[in-house]
Symmetry: C2
Subunit: 334 residues, 2 copies
């Protein structure tokens, strides 16, 4: 039986093996992804990001537990840590999770550390999410650390993005600078039993007010800011990010957070944004794959030493860069 | 006579016309650039960048005057303003310059405002510089406003990069955040007769001390930070950015600045960095041209509606992104 058939039949071991193949971008995984693709597009993807120390992993734990206990949903967690070249941190995170979620066949947790480029990481994550989607998981939680470009790219994968803050970290302003607020559908103030929670919440509120909601929502959807506001449909403007307090370690605020997520899903489907995001995401993915394929075909066709000798001729002024490109292209296509 | 012949003969009108063609990326300009390329690689390129209000343009004026008067060098100025979609500001700048430099055949000033993408701007600037280089200009000054990615890209063109600051602008820290200090070979504190000059200089000094010099120089040269320090030749580490005070409007400090620039040129040639930078610059240019050509060939070969219908099939889950890429590529190459 092929990987994809086993996975569609609910085989956990096959799922686990395919995820490894996907991470290594093996030929088998490429074939399986093609076979699984028609079975995707049903899961709800939740992105969760925030600085270290915000209690992000506990929050994700609690979300998963809630979906299991009260909604009987199957939950997959993809924990991405772009800052760590090793799996150390991620493995520790898994072990902590095990206590609550171990043995539940309706939960699958997968960690990913950085291998290769960040662009590659976003693509691997997208492919893993696709496998979970085809395998019938209802909620797929993509957890990332930090607030860099990679988090933003990975957040673009999600239907609903949660940005987690905590009082007293002093990184509120930093988070905004990194543009992380602009990707948030729901702002979670975790560790809300700590002093300073009001200040954190107030800071987030005033920043949300500062950010013009139309601009906010447009950027989130990857829609060009050059679209005149009056050409946008009114329902495009309607989601204003919510702020939600939680104390994940005690399970406080989790039910309310799950309710807010459900409200966001309802907004997405009613406004047509679910389809818009889906389409935009797939277009970005197709573009990236085309570029990558063009460059790698070129590298395959043009030997490294031929490229180097072209460069040497340019350095020696025997050949202009424009001519070199023409020669390199002619050599391939004629 | 072709453009390139006229330009090699010193025809100013042909030069001016070709620069316009270069800005429009016309077929004639592409042909001319190929013909002129063997005559390039002799000019010294000086990048000058800094925030508005630092007196950058006056400084560039004074530099040009000095090179004319005391060194009998031919000077070209390319003023790039990526923030302005119109030529308004740039034209005004030219008029101010005219007073001092008008009528001197050893000086040529050209303004460029943003047309198309910033990537395109960097390429146009590179091509303009190439034309001036072939036309026999000794010093080519590339002036840019601000501290964004485009300035950094344009600065990469230069052999020697000047970053201009001024007291009392309060943007010192901002400038560092944008990474602009890392590209500076010489830091110029202009308007040095103003109060606060000591503070500005002190701030710059402490920031230079903070930035590890090895790291600084490696980044400047586009050399990967992954190269172990012990593998780098000792002379690679030797240039530590200078801080220089000027009052451009009164011509104060200009002779000293020109001397520092000459020291930097001596460093570049003695250390072999001149050639390294040249090679790195040409490689970046070749890579960018190859990518651009691959994507535009692809766009020519694949009609927009075919691409759109592929995307639609992906959205409908009839085709996976990986399959779509394979089909798109097969259609082209087989």
């Amino acid at each position: 039986m092929t990987y994809s058939q086993s996975i569609l039949n609910g085989d956990r071991l096959a799922l686990s093996r395919l995820l490894t193949q996907v991470e290594n971008d093996s030929p088998e995984s490429r074939a399986a992804l093609i076979e699984l693709f028609p079975h995707t597009g049903r899961a709800h993807l939740i992105g969760v990001t925030g600085s270290p120390g915000t209690g992000k992993s506990s929050l994700v734990n609690q979300l998963a537990l809630h979906y299991r206990k009260f909604e009987n949903k199957r939950v997959a967690i993809v924990a991405v840590d772009p800052s760590s070249p090793f799996t150390g941190g991620a493995v520790l995170g898994d072990r902590v999770r095990m206590r609550d979620l171990a043995g539940d066949p309706g939960v699958f947790i997968r960690s990913m550390a950085t291998r290769g480029s960040l662009g590659g990481l976003a693509q691997s994550t997208a492919n893993m999410v696709r496998v979970f989607d085809a395998a019938g998981f209802d909620e797929i939680i993509i957890e990332t650390v930090g607030a860099g470009q990679s988090e933003v790219d990975i957040a673009r994968l999600a239907h609903t993005t949660l940005v987690v803050e905590a009082p007293g970290l002093g990184d509120d302003i930093q988070a905004i600078k990194a543009g992380i607020l602009e990707i948030a559908d729901i702002l979670v103030v975790n560790k809300a039993d700590r002093p300073g929670v009001e200040m954190t919440e107030k800071a987030l509120k005033s920043m949300l007010e500062l950010a013009h909601p139309v601009q906010h929502i447009f950027q989130h959807h990857g829609i060009s800011m050059n679209v005149p506001v009056h050409e946008a449909k009114p329902q495009d403007h309607m989601w204003i990010p919510l702020i939600q307090r939680t104390v994940a370690t005690e399970g406080k605020g989790i039910a309310e957070l799950v309710e807010s997520i459900a409200r966001h899903v309802a907004y997405l489907t009613q406004s047509g944004d679910w389809d818009l995001r889906e389409r935009a995401r797939l277009e970005v993915e197709l573009d990236a794959l085309v570029r990558e394929e063009l460059v790698s075909q070129f590298r395959r066709d043009v030997p490294e030493d031929q490229y180097e000798s072209m460069l040497e001729k340019i350095v020696q002024r025997e050949l202009s860069p424009g001519e070199a490109v023409r020669l390199l292209m002619n050599g391939r296509f004629k």
